[in-house]
Assembly symmetry: C2
Homo-oligomer: 217 residues x 2
DNA sequence: TGTACATCAGTGAACGCGCGTTCACTGATGTAC
DNA sequence: TGTACATCAGTGAACGCGCGTTCACTGATGTAC
């Protein structure tokens, strides 16, 4: 009579206590890893540093990740996911000949760097040692680069000459933003550290002038 | 009768065969290290990678250096020495309101990065793991920064407003130059890689406009 | 609903690999007389 | 100048530490009937 065999009923409840516990531990390990990465850097971090920070046994780690690399991959998956939704939410003005539009983008980039500093630093470090992560960086840069190209179109359309090939200009802006952010965000207490607004305004001005500035003769 | 005791005579000849051999091996290890660092990165390099590349036995390494760190220090000593002589040789025009003067400086920086790429990359990597090397970077940056301040004086004197506090502007330029150089010099065969002149002109324009550019209204 | 067994998340001591570092040895160079 | 001994640069096998990874075990949760 029962159309649904008993062993299937209630299978829809994904949140069985065991899964909840496993998911909790996995998240605890990821959170702990972010903290430890931020404190001592990815390359300096031992598996046991992460498990200790998370308050779990060393062996527990391997129930969830095959190693430090896979844990980082998992953090990056979250990061890429957020990047996608952020780009999807394109209500903004794409015309880079407008300083306010440019500033909005720089601010987005700056806050993205700040929010994901642990992962991004870890990624940079991992890339030093592993071709896989070097490619991950390339992916991030490529996505951003494609995006910026469309914005620079407006500059070209306005007849303003760029200071170099678009790809190189974009690479330079990217280097500037990420480098400057990682320089100052990693040690917020450093003497002379800029406020968020100072940093964003400075970067905006540099990029805006770089794009559209006319040097005096 | 002998005014100079026999065991002292000819001591002035520093180039006794033994010392020559020792110095040769030490240099061979340093050269090998530069090559290996460039190929696989400092952090990825094992002592035995260096000795193998140099064609010496593993144990030989410790006749000359206490470890990989001391070898890097020794490379950096050479680098700082060159930096000093380069600055001493100041025949150049210090007025950054003059594009040609700025370009000369950018070219100096670019070629310095290129010439010392192995050490500079190694230093960056070592700094990830060791506070000592973080300080070495700070020294390098501070020296350069002091130098740039004097150049920006000319801009201030000309009544041109900078896009932010001088320290931050200098930090941004520094980040841009070193980041862009390390991005493109590490893989010269990369698609879209700029020639030296393209890179130097782009950086010069960006910095020049950043300093002195007037965005259109 | 109750009982007996299976599965699973987590534990931490132990194992073993990779690599830095040591050290007894060799042959060549330097020194004493 | 010749001889006997000391010193030194270099060698590479062996040792041992640190850390990643495993695995037998525990107690709790899930399943069968």
């Amino acid at each position: 009579m029962a159309l649904i065999p008993s062993h299937v009923k209630e299978v829809g409840a994904v949140t069985t206590p065991r899964k909840v516990q496993a998911a909790g531990t996995e998240q605890a390990l990821k959170d702990a890893a972010r903290r430890v990465f931020a404190r001592q850097g990815y390359l300096n971090t031992k598996i046991t540093d992460i498990t200790r920070e998370a308050g779990r046994a060393a062996g527990s780690f391997y129930n969830h990740f095959s190693g430090k690399e896979e844990l980082l991959e998992s953090l990056l998956t979250d990061l890429f996911a957020e990047g996608d939704t952020a780009v999807a939410d394109e209500e903004h003005n794409p015309d880079f000949t407008d300083r306010a539009a440019l500033r909005w983008h720089v601010a987005m980039g700056w806050h993205f760097q700040r929010r994901h500093l642990p992962e991004l630093l870890a990624l940079r470090q991992a890339a030093l040692v592993s071709p896989t992560f070097r490619n991950r960086i390339r992916e991030l840069v490529a996505a951003d680069s494609a995006h910026l190209h469309s914005h620079l179109e407006y500059v070209r359309a306005a007849g303003i000459p760029l200071p170099g090939k678009p790809d190189l200009v974009i690479s330079a802006f990217n280097t500037l933003l990420t480098g400057f952010a990682q320089e100052w965000l990693t040690d917020p207490g450093a003497p002379g550290a800029p406020t968020d607004d100072e940093a964003i305004d400075l970067l905006t001005d540099l990029i805006y002038r770089g794009i559209a500035g006319r040097p005096p003769v």
